[in-house]
């Protein structure tokens, strides 16, 4: 923090929270944004300020990723907090929320504290734990939500596992509301989803894959919305990926329910056909959907029905992926590909940059009440300098994640991180 103050000038500045997209400059001192000049120049600078001409490159707030898994504690061969933090820094993600389904499960304050201390020692990006909503994430008994909140968990969730018992979930919602804790929940009917490796339809039928109908998402989402109406608690819908799920979400939001919804960058970028000849790197949870569903998700992102995009970073080593499709572990790493894949929706899909970036910066930060996700005077200097048009070919071997399971391997995208700063410290520079 005591590093020399620096000014970035000649920028294209994008700050979704203030809706600004234009030329500008930023002064960073003491780990925070000391001054921002939107559309103009900074005033007179003291001589000890290092001035860097950015050559017109794009400066955006560091990304806030609400859904990241590592293997720490318990499965460090998959990913450690440190390797995940390095990957995040390289991907321009300056705040990550790690999921509680580790071993042990993050279902009590001591594990929350462990993760916060580890992250502090690593000193790369901001890491916040999500706590389990139920003990052991087993969906039976409430976890110590209040104590975990005090220890620093930012929301509660049972991660991939839906809380099947409606009575338990109702109590979780009602109890968490009293502590103003956000509850995230995966909308998936457990019986329809059991054993599924793909989405029901022509593709899964031809490939002989056990499949789940898209309605499984809608069924659970409708239940959750009904319980939100009952308890008036805040709900984060963990990855809406189907057109029918979006219809349910639309109705819930139209009723004014306090719900926020995410989707994953994978479901915005791929459809079930990408599974091809049983590519297990495309085995995800929820599974990849039809192209119609993917288009519906993109439309929902454009309209604002979906609020937030997550990487759904889920490292899986070769021994978990190099298996027959139905036996392979679902999930894909995503921290390093989130930004270029999102920018692809601008380059290829024509979605406005401000709207896209809002879903990974100010919206998730505001939802959790974090000071991050904006370029504003006094805000933490979590910044990313981006070469918006630089072509990249994603190469899984070059990922910093310990696991290399990316469905983007070989994909041609546009947009490269040049430098990532966290609290004014450069934590990544393009080599």
């Amino acid at each position: 923090m005591s590093e020399r103050p620096f000014a970035l000038t000649n920028l294209r500045l994008i700050d979704p929270s203030s809706g600004f997209d234009g030329p500008g400059a930023v002064l960073v001192a003491e780990g925070v944004v000391a001054d921002v000049a939107q559309g103009g120049d900074l005033g007179a600078l003291s001589p000890d300020v290092e001035v860097v001409d950015a050559g017109g490159q794009l400066l955006i707030p560091g990304l806030v990723d609400l859904r990241v898994k590592t293997g720490e504690p318990g499965a460090e061969t998959k990913e450690t907090l440190k390797s995940a933090a390095s990957a995040a820094a390289a991907g321009g993600v300056t705040t990550v929320v790690v999921q509680p389904d580790t071993d042990p499960v993050v279902d009590e304050a001591s594990v929350v504290d462990f993760i916060l201390r580890r992250a502090r020692d690593i000193e790369l990006v901001h890491v916040y734990p999500a706590g389990a909503a139920t003990k052991g994430a087993r969906g039976e008994r409430m976890a110590e939500i209040g104590l975990m909140r005090e220890a620093g968990c930012v929301y509660v969730t049972d991660a991939d596992r839906p809380i099947v018992n409606s009575k338990v979930f109702r109590r979780v919602l009602a109890y968490a509301k009293a502590f103003d804790v956000l509850v995230a929940h995966r909308p998936a009917d457990p019986w329809l989803s059991a054993g599924a490796a793909a989405t029901e339809g022509e593709f899964a039928g031809r490939m002989g894959l056990p499949a789940v109908p898209p309605a499984a998402e809608k069924i659970m989402l409708e239940r959750d919305l009904a319980l939100v109406e009952l308890t008036e608690a805040r709900l984060l819908v963990d990855q809406v990926t189907t057109a029918c799920g979006l219809e349910a979400l639309q109705r819930g939001k139209a009723r004014g329910l306090p719900v926020t919804a995410t989707t994953s960058i994978n479901h915005l970028s791929f459809n079930e056909i990408d599974i091809g000849d049983y590519r297990t790197f495309c085995k995800l949870d929820p599974p990849l959907r039809s192209e119609d569903d993917r288009q519906a998700v993109i439309d929902a992102l454009a309209s604002g029905l979906i609020d937030i995009v997550v990487s759904a970073h889920a490292p899986a080593p070769p021994e978990d992926k190099r298996l027959p499709y139905d036996q392979a572990t679902p999930g894909a790493v995503g921290l390093e590909t989130l930004l270029p894949a999102l920018l692809n929706l601008h380059h290829d899909g024509g979605l406005p940059l401000l709207d896209l970036l809002r879903t990974v910066t100010s919206r998730p930060a505001d939802l959790l009440g974090l000071p991050a996700g904006r370029i504003a005077k006094g805000a933490p200097a979590d910044l990313v300098l981006v070469d918006l048009y630089a072509p990249v070919v994603i190469d899984s071997d070059k990922l910093l994640s310990k696991s290399k399971n990316t469905p983007f391997d070989g994909r041609r995208l546009q947009g490269q991180v040049i430098t990532t700063w966290v609290d004014g410290r450069a934590v990544y520079r393009r080599g």
Binding site: E202, R206, G208, L209, D277, E319, L323, P324, Y325, D326
Partner: protein, 326 residues
Amino acid sequence: MTALDAGLNAVLGRTFPFPKRHFLSVLDLNEVEVTSLLDLADGFVALNRQTSKKLDLLKGRTLMNLFFENSTRTQSSFELAGKRLGADVVNMSPRSSSISKGETLIDTAVTLNAMQPDLLVVRHGSSGAASLLAQKVTCSVVNAGDGQHEHPTQALLDALSMRRAFGRIAGLKIAICGDVLHSRVARSNVGLLQMLGANVRLVGPPTLMPAAADRWGVDVFHDMKQGIAGCDVVMMLRLQLERMDGVMAPSQREYFRFFGLDREKLAHAAPGVRVMHPGPMNRGVEIDSEVADDLSVSLIQDQVEMGVAARMAVLTALSARLDNDR
């Protein structure tokens, strides 16, 4: 040995350059390749009916049977096919080996591949397993059934049985009946028979029909009598009995009443209809013994015989391709 020579010449006259290294899915084949394989197999049928059945087309080659699911019928069919062509045949039984001790499929494949087999015949309970293996080994891989995906040699032997019974496949009306959802036999047959110009229908209860099966280019029926009306071939599929009893159908007796093949339902098919079944049969569940054992309508015995010939054709074609690679 003149009979053998005649048979051998008949066979060798029918070999053709097969362009694929593996035999994984009927969708990898085209009509010319399938027809050539069927012609070749026809020659092997004649050969197999002679006293001296042994050839040396695969002499020096090693064929490994790797069956992760038990199947006496298919495994011994491949074993006989390999032996009659002069190959050394090894049967690996993963249940008693290290695979059950946590070794992954790929580790097993790499280990076996190091023993330099030429042909690896694989059956596995997961869809796509044969294709996965094929990516990791240097030998030829034959898919002997992967999960609910494909069983291409079964489709080939079914086509051979039909072609010999009717003299053609194009234009035949064929009903595939029963548990289509879980059937790799059905998927391979739909692909192959459509390629050869047959008119294919699928018949079964909605719970045993894949989603969007009507987009496979077939007509889907949930009423057996309507489904087999006017059909030249009724192909019954094997039903896993544990899927009865209220899971996929209420009971065995209810299933037999509505979807089991008996004389009464068969009367709706075309005159001269032939009945097929990939075996093993659940008599009284999907097929009535009276129908199964009536040799004037049943091709079920023929299918087993054709199985050896069809697999000999596949092994010969793949082996010729291996020769070209050297």
